[in-house]
Amino acid sequence: MKNFYHSSHFAMNTRLDIILWGCEESYYAQVDNKIHTTIKALELIYSRFDNKSELYKLNDTAYNNYTKLSNTLLKSINQCLEYSVKTTGYFNIGFLNNQGMELHDLIEVRSHSNTIKYLYPNVKLDFGGIGKGIALKHIELILNAYNIENAIISFGESSVLTRGKHPHGSYWPFSFQDQHNFGESLKLNNHMVSISGLHNNTPHIINPESGKLVSDSRAVCIVNNDPIAAEVLSTALIAAPQNLHQQIIKSFTQEKVLYSKS
């Protein structure tokens, strides 16, 4: 097919696929490059594993010490505090080794001075449950700036941003392939899909209340138009007990919540 562009990179500990169509390849290469450099910059802020990142350094120094942080990181941490409340504590970027404590119990943020202090020695912040949403939010701005009409941006097929439509249809056709069936079809245009659950059959989400890895075989798929909210909600629903799901879901705007069968 003409004017079809695809590239893939290793980014944010997974495979990033960029699919664009409708314009010249050289133009798309510019978009690709912009996305790539933006993600690199975000990783230097949010990566828990990169010793050059702001978060890595923060995790190293913020216990019992008011530590200066960038506006970007401050904004994100404040956003995570809000989401922690909206999910009754089940979305928690500071859950490491802090069983049963909510995010606002673990850190103290002073927005007026752009500083943060960790209240316990074993607190570490981890943006794994929201980082790809933050990245996709930035990518969304890039797509708008470059007037990209048709696109798929996918992090590991679990965080997928769609724009426009498939070259041979009026939408992007996906189906939620869960543990037990292929579920229903998703007809996506300008959407965000976030899927949380087992990754290659390996638990990777920690229940902030119990401190244990979630080993339930369920997976959950959120479809909305907000990359960050979608990531937060799918992560929280995997961690939260089922009797709280409706309460959490009501706090968000979304089009679809799909579950795999357990």
Binding site: H166, P173, F176, D178, F182, G197
Partner: protein
């Protein structure tokens, strides 16, 4: 007449060739290139009805005309002779000598090989006469109408050293040889069952001239017991051969039933049959064929612990197929102008969803046709080399024996085993 080599020499070479071929599992290396020794192989066609004419065309279509010459045809039905002569004319080939009887043909013309495409009941005596005259034989499947005739053909091959090749053309198909090779190398794990069927929705009749009703049995010989075992010998034998080949075994018993269910038009052979062949390792070959519905067509399903194959359609289905990444599928679809769901979010495959899995191709470079053209070329090549892989004949022999034992099972309503005298 082609010069004959000693029987002992021939057999020695045949056994060596057989062992090599059986290991390679590809009798012809899937090539149409012939050895050229400057001498044309002289061929005769005995039986130039529908099938014989098809075999003539297939041979004439191959780019090997310098290696052989069809010097004679034989048939006792003038319209078939006329149609065959038209084919010679169409392809610009020299007019062949025509005989109404194969004995006269064998006596009067020097031949290296014959292609026998007569009705089933005539296979044995024609093939035996030819082999006894030092002529190599490619005979259509099944081998013969009776067990004793089948054994007599095999024994004559052993006695004379003449090549005897039976027309199970799937042995020469790339898809089948490749699939069987993969099966023997464990691709499907342990095979538990083979299911096969051949369904058609027609009366299986050829038109009989209105003013010559006495030609009914001559033309529609497939429908009369004296000449054919119907669906068993004309269709099932192909698929039973594949089962034996895939399993590298012959059955130990067969049960079956059959009836004339739909075409109550005076025919004697069943239009609806079902059989189960059991093998020494416990594998079952479950077979059915009928003439009143064509929805499911023709297929062989080979079912193993690690996967299944559908050979007629060149498909392989793993029990644990690798998960196709959804984005990769999406990209492939876009490039192929396909619009369908890309599956995302799955972590593992589950067998219950197999209905959604479309399988994989066994091989991508299929040849045209079903292997019959390659079979004809192989026959000429064998004549030039004066040797043929013995295992191919054994495949044909055992298949023919067990096809006829299947008929006995249907007729007797009992489980049938193979009498020792037919074991080779």
């Amino acid at each position: 007449m082609a010069q004959k080599e000693g029987r002992r020499e021939f057999l020695k070479r045949s056994v060596l060739a057989s062992a090599g071929a059986a290991l390679a599992l590809s009798p012809i290396n899937n090539t149409l290139a012939l050895l050229t020794n400057g001498k044309k192989v002289k061929l005769g066609y005995i039986g130039v009805g529908g099938r014989g004419q098809h075999l003539l065309r297939l041979l004439f279509d191959q780019q090997i005309s310098s290696d052989y010459e069809v010097v004679t045809i034989c048939d006792n039905y003038q319209p078939s002779i006329d149609a065959a002569l038209e084919i010679f004319k169409e392809y610009g080939r020299p007019v062949p000598k025509i005989f109404l009887s194969h004995q006269k043909m064998v006596k009067n013309i020097a031949l290296d090989g014959v292609v026998v495409a007569t009705p089933l009941f005539a296979h044995a005596h024609i093939s035996i006469d030819c082999m006894n005259a030092g002529i190599h034989v490619l005979c259509e499947k099944a081998m013969a109408r009776t067990l004793d005739d089948t054994k007599a053909m095999y024994d004559t091959h052993i006695k004379t050293g003449s090549i005897l090749l039976i027309g199970h053309q799937r042995i020469f198909s790339k898809v089948y040889t490749n699939a069987i090779n993969q099966i023997h190398n464990g691709k499907l794990g342990e095979i538990g069952q083979i299911r096969a069927y051949w369904h058609r929705n027609n009366d299986w009749r050829r038109p009989v001239p209105k003013n010559k009703p006495y030609l009914e049995k001559k033309i529609n010989w497939r429908l009369y017991n004296e000449y054919s075992a119907g669906l068993l010998t004309e269709l099932m034998s192909h698929q039973l051969q594949i089962a034996n080949w895939a399993l590298k075994q012959n059955p130990t018993s067969v049960m079956g039933t059959g009836s004339i269910r739909y075409w109550k038009d005076g025919r004697q052979v069943d239009d609806n049959i079902a059989l189960i062949y059991s093998y020494p390792d416990g594998t079952q070959f479950v077979y059915d064929s009928l003439n009143c519905n064509k929805k499911y067509g023709c297929q062989e399903h080979i079912l193993g612990s690690k996967g299944a194959m559908e050979l007629e359609t060149n498909k392989f289905y793993s029990e644990n197929p690798p998960q196709a990444p959804g984005i990769l599928q999406l990209i492939n679809d876009i490039e192929k102008d396909v619009f369908r769901d890309a599956q995302i979010g799955g972590a593992s495959w589950v067998p219950e969803t197999a209905v959604k899995y479309e399988g994989e191709t066994i091989i991508t470079n299929k040849q045209k046709g079903d292997g019959t053209a390659e079979e004809l070329v192989h026959f000429i090549k064998c004549i030039q080399k004066k040797s043929a892989p013995e295992w191919i004949l054994k495949e044909g022999y055992n298949t023919s024996i067990w096809t006829l034992l299947g008929e006995q099972a249907i007729e007797s309503g009992t489980k049938i085993t193979c009498p020792e005298k037919y074991l080779i």
